[in-house]
């Protein structure tokens, strides 16, 4: 099966007054059609930056941006900005941002905001765009009439649905979702996840679901990639990851997730995630790793395929 | 021994539309009653907009109640003037959600911890230093001499929250209300902080109200759970009881909505009620959950059910059990 998205050796560094932030440091991952990849990690590990790197929404102080990103076999990193904007961003890959439900334009009607990507990217006429908007709105479980409402008239859950509609309206292949439910209450969150599940099944969508909440990620994930300090340390199928991950960090992460239904002794990871400006030498996790060996302090391990489609970046393997 | 008694507590915020318009009431806390014993830890679980934060603030008398009674340690503090509540500020303290915001950025950790001591008239400088170092040690911010002169922006979020905890403990209060103390911290740090809180709570015998929306952490922390919906308590029970045998349909919905990390999750659609929590300005008549309740009956739309003890120590406010 041809890969839908193949990211190879992607780098994204920012220049700040305090130094160069290595937010995305040689990341490689892939996504098949209809598959959901969950990208999990603590805050500050670079996962949001990775999303922005893929969709090329770079800040002003970008220092390094290189690598290969193959979408349907074509390297979109080679596209100029204009081509990227026209053909990739929001056309093939769209994104739901963190806190998006609070970043809707308060003075524009919701319908107009959903229509915007169509009018901008596809040069659609107003009628054509609004037809698609109504479709999208219904898809996300809202009544058509909502397109004439303003964001403040909607609840949090409804706004999140609007933002999802915005991401879907151009019928992309891949939707990147960055913490789409973190501001919502539990029941609304479950409803949104149900919605995402349905959309995935109906349209064979591929998601990249970014979150720090491991339990919620299991609602969608077919594959899980764990990010730590700008690097991906493990990629595994959800069956393997949620039950028995390999990387010590992944293990500790899973052990720190409280469960409602099972009796589990909780574990926590001592210390704090490292700064992305001056990460530790060798393996970045070694200062907090219970299995650290001398080589971990010296050399960075390489990503190894320990099983088919199961990659781990650790000297233990 | 009952430390805190809350009886029919109400907090209604009045909001006026225009100068001559009608007055609306936002019923953040609407007839809440419960008892809290010495040394007992309770989780107050509710979604955002359920009124749990207002309830916490009202109990601490940072807000004045509209109606009802709050009796702390035998004293009725419902309508006491703020100036006369200084003793209460010492006996009941607050841990807030935002570690970054709860510490004044222009004071060292030492000064931050010194403030409550100065305010409560601990005049001896050496005594204060002793108490501050002791507090830092209790929250495991050691070596204390390293941390004391630091500023908040020099330490991590988890460490900041420990300072907030130290500040809440330093005067040896009888009651601590912790409002979502870990929701702004990284997942891996949450457990650490909650474990610390639980330890401190147990060893010092402090009564705790742990306000949260995350049910899955409650069982690691408290003996009892109170479920709050739309300004009211709908179920109160021991933690294990509640999780094993939730009675109120809302509690059941909450429990079914929370995922455990399980790869099978993605293959199923979760059974959850649709809709959102109601507005507190115009809550539904009768039982407030009835619009979303799968078991709604005619009486639920008409009359509000009363809280009933269905099993020992297990209270529900639902017509299914009347």
């Amino acid at each position: 099966m041809k890969k839908l998205l193949d990211v190879k050796n992607l780098y994204l560094y920012f220049a700040t007054r305090k130094g160069i932030v290595k937010a995305v440091d040689n990341v490689s991952l892939s996504l098949n059609k209809g598959e959901t990849l969950a990208l999990v990690g603590e805050s500050g590990c670079g996962k949001s930056s990775l999303a922005k790197a893929i969709i090329r929404l770079l800040p002003r102080n970008t220092h390094t941006y290189k690598g290969e990103v193959y979408l349907n076999g074509e390297n979109i990193m080679e596209y100029g900005e204009k081509k990227f904007r026209k053909e990739v961003r929001w056309k093939k890959i769209s994104m739901v941002f963190q806190g998006a439900l609070n970043s809707l334009n308060p003075i524009l009607k919701v319908g107009f905001q959903i229509a915007e990507p169509l009018i901008i990217h596809e040069n659609m006429s107003k009628e054509g765009a609004y037809k698609r908007v109504k479709e999208a709105v219904k898809l996300v479980g809202l009544h058509e009439a909502f397109i004439d409402r303003y964001p403040f008239e909607l609840s949090g859950g409804m706004r999140q649905r609007v933002v999802i509609a915005m991401a879907l309206v151009t019928r992309p292949n891949i939707v990147i979702l960055d913490e789409p439910t973190s501001a919502l209450d539990v029941i609304t969150q479950a409803n949104i996840m149900n919605l995402l599940k349905r959309l995935k099944a109906e349209f064979n969508l591929s998601y990249i679901y970014i979150t720090h909440d491991i339990a919620v990620s299991s609602e969608l994930a077919d594959k899980v990639a764990v990010m730590y300090a700008g690097k991906i340390v493990e990629i595994a199928s959800s069956e393997i990851f949620y039950r028995n991950p390999s990387h010590p960090y992944a293990k500790k992460l899973m052990a720190s997730v409280p469960t409602l239904r099972s009796e589990k002794k909780l574990d926590f990871i001592p210390g704090a995630p490292p700064s992305l400006i001056n990460p530790p030498r060798g393996c970045r996790f070694h200062p907090r790793c219970p299995n650290a060996m001398p080589i971990c302090r010296r050399e960075e391990p390489k990503m190894k395929e320990v099983e088919p489609e199961h990659f781990v970046k650790c000297w233990l393997y | 021994m009952v430390l805190l008694k809350v009886i029919n507590l109400k907090k209604w915020f009045s909001m006026k539309k225009g100068i001559f318009g009608t007055t609306y009431y936002l019923r953040a806390v609407d007839n809440v009653s419960f008892e809290l014993r010495s040394g007992e830890a309770v989780s107050l679980v509710g979604e955002s907009g359920s009124g749990k934060t207002t309830l916490g603030r009202t109990i601490l008398r940072l807000i004045e109640p509209t109606d009802g009674k709050i009796i702390f340690d035998g004293k009725d503090i419902t309508h006491t003037r703020v100036e006369e509540l200084k003793w209460y500020r010492r006996s009941a303290s607050l841990i807030q959600q935002d570690p970054f915001g709860s510490l004044p950025p222009f004071y060292t950790i030492y000064k931050i911890l010194e403030e409550p001591l100065i305010i409560h008239k601990i005049k001896d400088k050496n005594k204060r230093r002793e108490l501050i170092y002791r507090a830092l040690r209790e929250v495991r911010l050691t070596p204390v001499e390293d941390f004391a002169p630091k500023y908040p922006h020099m330490i991590s979020g988890g460490q900041m929250q420990r300072v907030a905890i130290a500040r809440a403990l330093i005067l040896r209060p009888k009651l601590i209300i912790a409002d979502e103390p870990v929701s702004m911290l990284d997942a891996s740090v949450r457990i650490e902080i909650l474990t610390l809180l639980r330890e401190l709570q147990k060893t010092r015998g402090i009564s705790f109200i742990y306000i949260t929306h995350d049910l899955s952490t409650t069982k690691y922390f408290s003996e009892k759970i109170f479920i709050m919906y739309a300004g009211q308590l709908v179920e109160m029970a021991n933690t294990d009881q509640l999780i094993k045998n939730p009675l109120h349909p809302y509690t059941q919905a909450l429990l079914s909505a929370i995922p455990d990390p399980d790869p099978e999750n993605r293959k199923k659609i979760r059974k959850v009620p649709p809709g959102e929590p109601p507005s507190l300005i115009n809550p539904p008549r009768g039982c407030r959950f009835h619009p979303r309740c799968p078991n709604a009956m005619p009486i639920c739309r008409r009359e509000e059910p009363k809280m009933k003890e269905v099993e020992p120590e297990h209270f529900v406010k639902c017509w299914l059990y009347a």
Binding site: - | L85, S102, L103, P104, P105, I119
Partner: protein, 481 residues
């Protein structure tokens, strides 16, 4: 140590200084400001206040030896012309300096004495003097000495200027250049020598120093005759103990670092003294107003409700008041000194617009978690205001404070310029006022206007640059990543 805080970062004074210097605008601002402060301190030490006021009032003919409207000395280097400077010869220096001869000889058989004073000097300049005065210091009881004054040019022509009876003992001044007798005499002399009638009246100082040919007939073409000049004063003293000393001053056209004004006052004084006045006025106005604004804004933001509403309405009314008009009105009817001007400006600014932004900040901070936390552990309102809110709102106020200083400096200068300021204080505005009433722009005395203006601009620049840099530091959104 004062710790200012900005969004979680703390700075000590040293840290702030380093930050400021990391911006080019900060470096420039601080550099100029340090220069101005140094200038102020130097001025206050070397010319104490009372002395400065006295000198500026010009009592006791203090300035009499300065030329009027003289340009600064350094004009000579810029324009290359050898602009004349003062030449003063005093008979009291006889024996100590060259070129002076003084002989008093008794006339036998009488109480009378004969007097002979001779002055010799070189005139090397490219332009004529502005004025020539002779000062007489006579000692006598009843009978004043009688003197004859002669002028000898380098071409050895001797001209008798006039005969003169000293008018008063102690000091008497003969204003040679405006003396009509001498003027007429010289006019005749020149017309005779050159052989032509002149259409205009030739000024005395020109006649006495010019090349004697047709060029003399017009002031455009007249050239000074460089060379050795002699002035002879002969006369009689009529008392036994009588004595007289003479001082000749040939006034140049250039004087001092900053030139002089029409009252002969050295402009060094107001230029130098303007500095501490401007800076202290601007800073005190800005500081006091900022403090008042702070208090009002905090009260308004913290206590809310009717206090807030009242203060807000007052502020809005104040913002509409035409402030300068009021100021001019008051200044027209009342005599003002600089301290009263300061007070009035403060009163007219009490409920200024700055309150609104500070109040907004206070209301924002009021909702911060750490304020709630403070309430929870029992802090009183007063404690919270002074120890929690004010430290947080001070840093954002500092750039505004600094940036508004030039405004007040210009205000004071403007008032002085309109003639409504403190009349006795030597300030830059006063100099500009004097310059305009003295017709500086008409007569080409540009330095008179430019010098104070440049100082004003410099001061404004210093504070503006500094405020700019501070604004970038304090406002994190403007910070470069």
């Amino acid at each position: 140590m004062i710790y200012l805080s900005t969004v979680g970062a703390e700075y000590s004074i040293k840290g702030i200084a380093k930050e400021i210097l990391s911006y080019k605008s900060g470096v420039i601002g601080i550099a100029i400001l340090l220069f101005l402060i140094f200038l102020s301190i130097y001025t206050v030490i070397t010319i104490p206040y009372d002395q400065a006021i006295r000198m500026w009032r010009g009592e006791d003919r203090m300035w009499i030896e300065n030329p009027r409207n003289a340009v600064p000395i350094w004009y000579k280097y810029i324009f290359g012309k050898n602009i004349p400077e003062n030449i003063a010869i005093d008979s009291r220096d006889f024996g100590k300096k060259l070129g002076i001869v003084k002989v008093i000889s008794d006339i036998p058989g009488t109480n009378f004495k004969k007097l002979y004073i001779e002055f010799t000097f070189t005139y090397p300049y490219d332009d004529f003097p502005s004025e020539i005065n002779v000062f007489f210091f006579a000692k006598y009881n009843m009978n004043a000495p009688l003197l004859y004054i002669y002028w000898i040019k380098p071409n050895n022509r001797k001209i008798e200027l006039l005969s003169y009876i000293v008018r008063s003992p102690r000091e008497d001044i003969l204003y040679l250049s405006i003396n009509p007798v001498i003027g007429n005499k010289l006019q005749n002399y020149i017309e005779k020598t050159v052989g032509e009638e002149s259409e205009v009246f030739i000024p005395v100082e020109m006649a006495l120093f010019a090349v004697e040919d047709r060029t003399l007939l017009s002031s455009l073409t007249a050239k000074p005759l460089n060379g050795v000049y002699k002035v002879i004063i002969e006369g009689m003293l009529f008392e036994k103990d009588a004595d007289i000393d003479v001082r000749l001053v040939v006034y140049g056209k250039a004087w001092g670092m900053f030139g002089t004004d029409d009252l002969r006052r050295d402009l060094l004084i107001p230029i130098l003294w303007g500095t501490p006045v401007a800076i202290s006025f601007g800073l005190s106005a800005s500081l006091l107003i900022s403090i008042i604004h702070l208090i009002i804004a905090v009260a308004s933001g913290w206590y809310g409700k009717w206090v807030d509403s009242l203060i807000q309405r007052l502020t809005e009314i104040y913002m509409i008041i035409p402030f300068l008009s009021f100021l001019i009105l008051i200044a027209t009817f009342y005599k003002l000194n600089i301290v009263i001007i300061l007070m009035i400006i403060i009163v007219l600014n009490i409920f200024g617009g700055g309150i609104k932004s500070t109040r907004a900040l206070v209301m924002q901070i009021k909702n911060y978690p750490y304020i709630e936390a403070a309430l929870a552990y029992g802090a009183s309102s007063r404690r919270i205001i002074f120890l929690y809110i004010i430290p947080k709102i001070l840093p954002p106020m500092v750039p505004g404070l600094i940036s508004s200083v030039p405004g007040f400096v210009f205000l004071e200068a403007g008032l002085s310029f309109l003639g409504l300021g403190d009349p006795y204080l030597p300030t830059w505005g006063k100099v500009i006022n004097d310059a305009f009433t003295g017709g500086a722009m008409y007569k080409g005395y540009y330095y008179w206007v430019l010098e104070p203006s440049l100082m004003l601009i410099l001061t404004a620049l210093a504070f503006a640059f500094l405020g700019f840099a501070l604004d970038r530091i304090v406002n994190p959104k403007l910070k470069e990543m």
